[in-house]
Structure formats: structure tokens, C-alpha cells
């Protein structure tokens, strides 16, 4: 029980949100990547978060725990690709169809905003905790 665990919690949240931003960037970048067959289409990726409780405090027999964030997995959305008729496209199949991933750009943008806000929250937590610790270190001076 110290400031150290708060740093760890905020750090885990920041790295989780970074992965989330990473997937958003990947999804947005590949929103217009066409493919010549449905199974070769880019699949939108989504991170899965889970709360992980500190093992040491569980072993100590206390119910007092702060939960870190763990990235369980990055899953693909599994949405059906969109089929478009584009005979001029070099990637078109025999019938003139290409396949686009079903990525909702607005959804991804809101996800991005949410991720960056959460990241900023963690930065703010770190700053606050830092000033708390500095205040504690200066205790007894003057």
C-alpha cells in the first residue's frame, strides 16, 4: 500500500488505452482497403479489457485492493464484409466485385476520443499523485 501501486494502476490504464488507440488507427487506416475475396478482407480489431486485482493484497488476507487494467485480447469484429461492384478495380474478382471491411468510421472516431480522454485522465492522476508525494517529501521543512 503506497504510491507505487497507484503509479502501476495508472500506467496499466495508459498502456491499455494506447493499445486501443492503436487498434482505432489500424481500423481507420484500413477502412478503404479492398480485397478480392470475403475471407481476405481486413477485419476490424477491438481490444478486450479486464480488471486484474493485486495478488499480494489478496494473499495478505485483506479485501483492500486496487485493480489494474489488463489487456485480455485483441479480437476481430467478425462483421460481414461489404461487397461492391467495381469492375475497374484491379482487385475485382471474376464477376467484378471487390470486398470492403465493414468499418464504421464514426464509431471508430468516438472510440478514439474516448481512448484519448481516458489516457488524459490517467496522466492527470499521475500528476496529482506526484504532487501528493512531493508534498509528503517536503513535510517537516521550513
Amino acid at each position: 500500500m503506497s504510491f507505487e501501486s497507484i503509479y502501476r494502476i495508472a500506467g496499466s490504464a495508459m498502456s491499455a488505452q494506447t493499445v486501443r488507440l492503436n487498434t482505432v488507427a489500424s481500423n481507420l487506416a484500413n477502412a478503404d482497403s479492398a480485397a478480392d475475396s470475403p475471407d481476405r478482407v481486413y477485419q476490424a480489431r477491438k481490444p478486450v479489457f479486464a480488471a486484474v486485482y493485486n495478488n499480494e493484497s489478496l494473499n495478505a488476507g485483506t479485501n483492500f485492493v486496487g485493480a489494474r487494467v489488463q489487456l485480455l485480447d485483441v479480437v476481430s469484429s467478425g462483421r460481414e464484409p461489404q461487397r461492391r461492384y467495381e469492375p475497374g478495380n484491379p482487385q475485382a474478382d471474376r464477376d467484378g466485385y471487390v470486398y470492403y471491411p465493414d468499418i464504421n468510421v464514426i464509431e471508430e472516431m468516438t472510440d478514439m476520443m474516448s481512448a484519448s480522454r481516458s489516457f488524459e485522465t490517467s496522466v492527470e492522476v499521475l500528476n496529482r499523485v506526484k504532487s501528493m508525494q512531493q508534498g509528503l517529501l517536503r513535510l517537516g521543512e521550513s
Binding site: 500500500m1 494502476i9 492522476v125 501528493m132 509528503l136 521550513s142
Partner: protein
Amino acid sequence: MSIRIDADLGVHVRALELRMQRSEILAANLANEDTPGFQARDIDFAAEMRRLELEDRKSLAGGEAPQLLFRVPAQPSQDGNTVELAVEQAEFSRNAMDFQTSLTFLSMKFRGLKQAIEGR
């Protein structure tokens, strides 16, 4: 008559410790803002302070962890997460301010002790 530093610092040491523990809980809530099914926790600060005071008076062995309660969300979300960002942020900064307050009280106590020791 001697100066007993422990007794003189009074309740502020306990308050500071509890504030620190609470800031960890609130930091965990903020960190798990996007974790599905995560339930926000908090402690009842007044009740914990009363319990610590009681332990002190009966000179019981302390060190018992504070009791974690669940936050009741104003608007529950679909994925079972009960963290409300604005509420948690407000609580976190209030807790940080209260921490600074306790620190200020403590350093005032120290200053008083120093003056008593130096006899000025």
C-alpha cells in the same frame, strides 16, 4: 513533562494514510473506466475515521484494511461498468485536496513542536 510526538500529531497521521489508500481506490476506478463489468469501489471516509479512532482509544491492534463499498451509479451503463468518469474525477481531486489539507495540518504541528523545543 516530555513531548510525545505520536500523541501530539493527533488524528492527521491516520487521516493522511486513509487519504492515500482512498486515492489508490479512486485511481483504480479511473483506470478501469472502459473495462466491461467493472464495479467502482470507494470507502466511507467518515466511518473509517471513526473506526480508527475507536481502535486508538481502546489501543487495539490496528492494521485492519478499510471496508470497500460499491458505488451506486446514477446512470448504469449497458456493459455493467459502474464507473462514472466525472464523479470519479471530482472525488479524486477532492481527495487530493484533502490530502494536502492533512499535510498542511501536519506541517503546522511540526512547526509548533519545533518552536516548543527551541523555546522561542
